[in-house]
Amino acid sequence: MPNSDNRTYWLDRPGNVNKLFYGVVALTVVLAIPDIFALFNIFYDKHPKTEIEEIPFFYGLYAMISMLVLLGVSNSVSNFLKRDEDYYD
């Protein structure tokens, strides 16, 4: 099979990666809706075990903050920690 495959895949088409991205954005919006319901105590009950969970959109917010912290720290230590592949040899 090597190198004989000239099919165009869905991901290869221009614009499709963008579609994927907007799909993710839409998904986050949809998943935020239950928290809005919970604010008005309709349809959905959060069953919080701690007070912190009562913050609206807590899980989404916390995921975003965590990711930003992770990426921020990674970016800032990257240069300090990176070495050539044969550093130890």
């Binding site: 075990k49 701690t50 990711m67 592949e85 130890y88």
Partner: protein
């Protein structure tokens, strides 16, 4: 079968027959052994067998209780899948090492006393190193040596602990212990090395990526989880473990983010996941210990699966580096699908096993009112979404096409992946079936609306930030490089210090030896002169270096004796 034979011994003994077989027969034998072991385990049920006394100590070779049974079951599954995955390997050494290693890990889980535990503990160390050396490169050889030194040290420390413990308590039963005495510190360090505690962890990231394609699959399943079992057995509810676990969850994720090598990324992530289980052991209590057993099981399933997937990529393309891989989903669609499945399990998406098991640990933390701890674990859960859930499938398999095409992974590898993924998803679909095997019976409420929604929210928002970071170029660039870790201390700084000290010591001995030889030479010279031609017969035998030492020591001896 012999009554009460430890299932692990079946694998170990079977390994000895393997060199005598070849081809198809060998394949059948390899696959049959874990099945036989599993059958023995199921037939035995719960209880103790093989008790006898040696040197005044009561040994129990086989002891099966609900906790050890869970680990034993998953070890058998992992052994079977790992062997299936490695069927194409023609290297007898690897097959034998795999079976002995898996067998001794199983044997250790069912050890009823510390001596049996120690014996199997050391066999796992010695047998597993061959899976690293099997790469047969200079790099893997050196890495294997470092691995062996660390693993054997763990065994020696364990032995020290056993001796102290036996002296303290007069018992060598392997059971829950009160943490605090010197002996238990020895145990904690011995177990901690294998569990990859912070600062004791480097052997994982050092050696697993150097092992063969199949070797790292096998390695990832046993050693670290055996340590989890040992800790869960001996130190449940030890507060210290909570803090160790928190550091473990957080510490490796930055490295996992930066790492370019897929297998090394997995190794760091594995380390972070270990932290969850260590925390749960530290919390203690029925729910948390159930969580440990359950999450260890799932963790073995998805870690092995991800090592299988990345291993298949390495096997076909010859590299596991993100910078060198591209568009692999076009060549290896089935493997890529398994990569996505594995990713879904590891990020604890609903309908997968980890969704059910991680929740046990999280709610154990909340039940104990440890909110900070819970937040730390939640951070770890988000980090794994990035490190493994997104990075490995996207960067490894769905990255930009670089025009190279390869074959799909061989059928037996795909089957092995299917076994792991199948179990991982089955447990997610029907958690109650699996929870019935856990140490303490409990009600499970896995699929509540809030649990599903919050978990999906967590995943979706993490994905959103990941996508944004990629688009804006904020995501760290993958580079063909390594990331410094704590092992720098001993691989660079330590090496320099050691070279220096050893040259000083060698120099010192050379000097002393030179001095000694000089004196002896002088003594012999003198003797020759006094005995030689034309010389008078010697009056006294010439005193030499040795003799002066003797006299000095004699003087000291007299002082001591007269004192």
């Amino acid at each position: 079968m012999i009554e009460g034979l430890n299932p692990g011994i079946i694998l170990i003994l079977g390994a000895l027959i393997v060199p005598l077989t070849s081809g198809f027969i060998r394949g059948i034998l390899l696959l049959a052994l874990p099945v036989l072991g599993l059958a023995q385990l199921i037939m035995l049920g719960l209880g103790s067998w093989g008790q006898f006394e040696i040197m005044g100590m009561q040994l129990t070779v086989t002891h099966i209780d609900p906790l050890s049974r869970v680990f034993g079951l998953i070890f058998h599954v992992a052994a079977f899948a790992g062997i299936l995955y490695s069927l194409h390997v023609k290297d007898t050494m690897q097959h034998v090492a795999t079976l002995i290693y898996a067998g001794s890990a199983i044997g250790a889980v069912f050890a009823g006393d510390l001596i049996t535990l120690f014996t199997f503990w050391e066999i796992t160390a010695v047998s597993s190193v061959f899976l690293i050396w099997a790469s047969r490169t200079e790099r893997s050889f050196k890495s294997g040596i470092r691995y062996l030194i660390i693993q054997v040290t763990s065994g020696v420390v364990l032995l020290g602990g056993i001796a102290l413990y036996a002296a303290d308590t007069g018992s060598i039963k392997f059971e829950t212990m009160e943490f605090g005495s010197l002996a238990t510190w020895f145990f904690l360090i011995a177990f901690g090395i294998k569990a990859a505690f912070p600062l004791l962890h480097n052997w994982v990231q050092d050696s697993y990526p150097e092992a063969t394609v199949t070797g790292s699959v096998i390695l990832s399943a046993f050693t670290t989880k055996l340590a989890i079992y040992a800790l869960a057995r001996s130190f449940p509810g030890t507060d210290l473990l909570i803090w160790i676990g928190v550091v473990m969850v957080i510490f490796p994720v930055v490295h996992a983010t930066l790492e370019n090598d897929l297998r090394r990324t997995m190794a760091y992530s594995l380390n972070s996941q270990q932290g969850f289980m260590i925390i749960a052991i530290g919390i203690g209590g029925d729910l948390a210990i159930n969580g440990v057993a359950a999450h260890a099981t799932i963790s073995i399933l998805y870690t092995c699966l991800m090592f299988m997937v990345t291993g298949a990529a390495l096997y076909r393309t010859g590299t596991a580096k993100i910078t060198e891989l591209g568009g692999l989903y076009k060549s290896m669609p089935v493997t890529s699908t398994f990569a996505i499945l594995g990713a879904l399990i590891i990020i604890a998406a609903p309908l997968t096993g980890a969704f059910a098991t991680k929740a046990l640990i999280m709610s154990a933390a909340l039940d104990a009112k440890m909110v900070i701890l819970w937040l730390a674990m939640l951070f770890g859960a988000v980090a794994v979404i990035d490190n493994v859930g997104l990075k490995i499938p996207l960067f490894g398999f769905f990255s930009k096409d670089n025009g190279k095409r390869f074959q799909e992974a061989p059928l037996h590898m795909l089957l092995a992946m299917a076994v792991m993924a199948g179990f991982g998803i089955f447990i997610g679909l029907s958690p109650a079936t699996f929870f019935a095997l856990l140490p303490t019976p409990m009600e499970s409420h896995t699929y509540t609306a809030s649990h599903v929604v919050t978990q999906l929210q967590l995943i979706a928002f993490a994905v959103l930030i990941f996508a944004l970071a990629l688009r804006t170029g904020y995501y760290p660039k993958m580079r063909d490089s390594i990331t410094l870790d704590f092992d720098w201390i001993y691989r660079k700084a330590g090496k320099m210090a050691l070279t220096k000290t050893s040259s000083i010591v060698a120099n010192f001995w050379d000097q002393t030896k030179g001095f000694g030889l000089m004196l002896v030479g002088w003594a012999i010279d003198k003797a020759e002169k006094s005995h030689g031609e034309g010389q008078a017969m010697s009056r006294t035998v010439s005193s030499g270096y040795a003799v002066s030492v003797i006299l000095i020591l004699f003087g000291i001896a007299l002082v001591v004796i007269y004192a």
